[in-house]
Symmetry: C2
Subunit: 434 residues, 2 copies
């Protein structure tokens, strides 16, 4: 039998349901994997093996009330946990211990999940200090950010589910780099309570898994509309819009290869693919996302500025002090453009069932300072709809590159069922394993 730590969450869930696996055995397997790999990968900021085993034992005694029963989760360390520190990877927050779990942690814990530990993150999931996490397949490279530890831990077989967040591209980009699956659900459908605010119009809690079914387990927990009730489509019945986005000039060889391969595989599987060129207005979305991210970031870091004073890093001082000089007029224009494009994007789904787009420019970048470019993520975050990353291939440097499927607002369930149909086609390398 596969070491339990390498199972998909869905497979582990079935094994637990059937009595073939206990939560304790699964958690122990994950902890062993982490012990072997942590010196190289450094995905975790907090890990208390004894407490995790104790929590798993408790869950093993309780009745199973959900498919998450007994499954371990990594939690990005800017999401509150009542029984573990929450440091935001900030020097000023070391030892901070919230009094209560963030809403997302509370939900999965109540359903029987075991919080394994806290994963490293770019400071406040925004800027400043980078995670110490290294790419599991090549320690000279970043695993991406800001959900660095969650992406690397899932990619490296240390845990099969982990929470991350996305304001620019912090969830989908690391999924692409680490060869794993991720769902950024529709903005507003999962409570962001207890996760550090950066830009409230954009920040979205999401999760990593090793298969589409893994993503569904968590989507069920959050009761996303229609999850579990969407019929599984046949690939031949699907129409996929190939969207190079207005930012295609920034694609790299790895990303270009993944996009072309995915399109080719879909075509071969009988999926109706067509090039989808977005209306001109969409060309302004990257800048609009940047304006809103920095413009709302002013309020998000003002208390830090006043409380930490000179201890606060320059990136956050700049945000709180509006170093970019963002004006009210630019904020209004950015919000109005986003609203216009959200509506126009919804209308495109009369012609296509999902949009296929790059998940990252290419492979994970060299060094830890550069966590990658969010140019292929920012516009989708601003559009508020679901994004789902699927592994696709390896780039010229031998590291994974994925693609993403994008849907209109609130169509998370539909996107998950389309992804379930198409992942075995797109994810040629790893589909056989899951």
């Amino acid at each position: 039998m596969t070491e339990p730590c390498f199972l998909t969450a869905a497979a582990a869930s079935r094994a637990i349901a059937d009595g073939r696996l206990t939560s304790e055995a699964l958690v122990r397997s994950c902890l062993e994997r982490i012990e072997t790999r942590d010196a190289a990968v450094k995905a975790w900021l907090h890990l208390d093996p004894r407490a995790a085993i104790a929590a798993a034992r408790e869950v093993d005694k309780r009745p199973r009330i959900s498919r998450l029963h007994g499954l371990p989760f990594g939690v990005k360390d800017m999401i509150d946990t009542a029984d573990m520190p929450t440091t935001h990877n900030s020097a000023n927050w070391q030892g901070h211990r919230p009094a209560r779990d963030a809403a997302c942690v509370g939900v999965v814990r109540a359903l029987g999940a075991v919080i394994l530990g806290k994963t490293d993150t770019v400071e406040f999931a925004a800027a400043g200090r980078r995670a110490a996490t290294r790419h599991p397949m090549n320690p000279a490279h970043s695993p991406g950010g800001s959900s660095s530890g969650s992406g690397a831990a899932v990619g490296d077989g240390q845990v099969s589910l982990a929470f991350g967040t996305q304001t620019g591209g912090s969830l989908i980009r690391p999924a692409s780099f680490n060869g794993i699956y991720a769902l950024k659900p529709t903005w507003g459908t999962v409570s962001r309570e207890g996760a550090k605010i950066y830009a409230n119009s954009l920040d979205t809690i999401g999760w990593y898994g090793r298969s589409v079914e893994d993503l569904v387990l968590v989507a069920e927990a959050f009761r996303l509309d229609g999850v579990g009730h969407e019929p599984a489509p046949a690939p031949r019945a699907l129409r996929i819009g190939l969207c190079r986005t207005p930012y295609w000039s920034r694609i790299e060889p790895g990303g270009e290869r993944a996009f072309a391969l995915a399109a080719e595989r879909l075509t071969r599987a009988g999926v109706a693919v067509e090039d989808l060129v977005l209306p001109d207005a969409f060309g302004g979305l990257f800048e609009a996302q940047d304006t809103i991210m920095f413009g709302e970031g002013r309020a998000a870091f003002l208390d830090e500025l006043l409380i930490q004073g000179a201890r606060l890093g320059r990136d956050f001082v700049d945000r709180a002090e509006n170093a970019k000089g963002i004006t009210p007029d630019r904020m209004i224009a950015a919000h109005d453009l986003a609203a216009e494009c959200r509506r126009a994007f919804s209308a495109l789904f009369e012609r296509v069932d999902a949009v296929l787009a790059p998940a990252s420019p290419g492979e994970a970048p060299h060094g830890l300072q550069n966590t990658g470019d969010h140019v292929f993520n920012a516009m989708w975050t601003l559009l508020h709809g679901p994004c789902l990353s699927i592994p696709c291939t390896l780039g010229p440097g031998g590291l994974p590159v994925g693609i993403q499927l994008v849907g209109p607002r609130y169509a998370d369930a539909r996107l998950l069922s389309i992804a379930a149909a198409l992942a075995p086609v797109i994810d040629a390398e790893t589909a056989a394993q899951s």
Copy 2:
């Protein structure tokens, strides 16, 4: 000299700056007023006089770095405070003590404000259990909600500044009922971190004061765009749109009188007033706000549902379980209508400088169960722009009724300076005192 507790915040701030008043003396005066009045008004859920006096003494020793130096604040008890419980007026949260101040509390504390205590609120600022607070002028009546305690405490001379929140009309409506001033700033300009989420697209932190200048003190602390740099307009140079809103059929005699009186006083002062009829699309905003409030409320209370189980009140179970059956299509339509009307509303400000609208249907309602109707607030909350409540008159029942000025998104500073020019005209009863 007036008892310090009855001073406006701006007057107290000047007295502290000039050395005529200490924070300790001001806090002691507030505490005496509370001791006299608390049995009747019940505005506070937590008050620790010794700790408040100690905090004031500490502030008196420190250099003055802002106009908030030494000023006491009430904080609605669904906003986190590190040194006081935060109960959300929920039976399940008694004794809960957050590890950190909410961002808004952190900001004013860092600037020298003294947190006097926590004020009563409708449970989670949403539904369920009502505040025990009574109207200061008539204990048979509600002071409004959900910011019940903050509104009543400021109205009753117990404190001159207090934080509240608005998702429907929870900030402006109690201001109208209690004869005080309030600012609901533009959505997104003040961090909502550490305040309970109800509907993230709507929830807005705001504050009460006893004059427009009081509101400015706090707006300065949050560095709202342009505050302190907007020239004070002359009333004769202003054009005010009189907006009865699409919901005028729900006005009561008190609200009608306040609206008519305000218009009459403005006209007499030489302000150019004109009737402003909103485009037809605005007629859908009340329902759209309701859809978004309940639709986003699903996610907000899911962790409560799973963790509290049978201990959770019916109102919150209904929200988490989507008892209203809100569909994705309705959510999308509501968001898109809001976006369309936000843009259209901004365009109206080529013709007018501010919009005058009812702040509540009329006077505070009888009994504590009904905290008042938010029909004249919900649409403005959804439009995201600033709303500023000004006392105007007494209704037929002898209780206060205010009006509100409304501005376009991000024009908070401009609205504050317009209100400073017009409040002495509109607030005929109390303007002389402040």
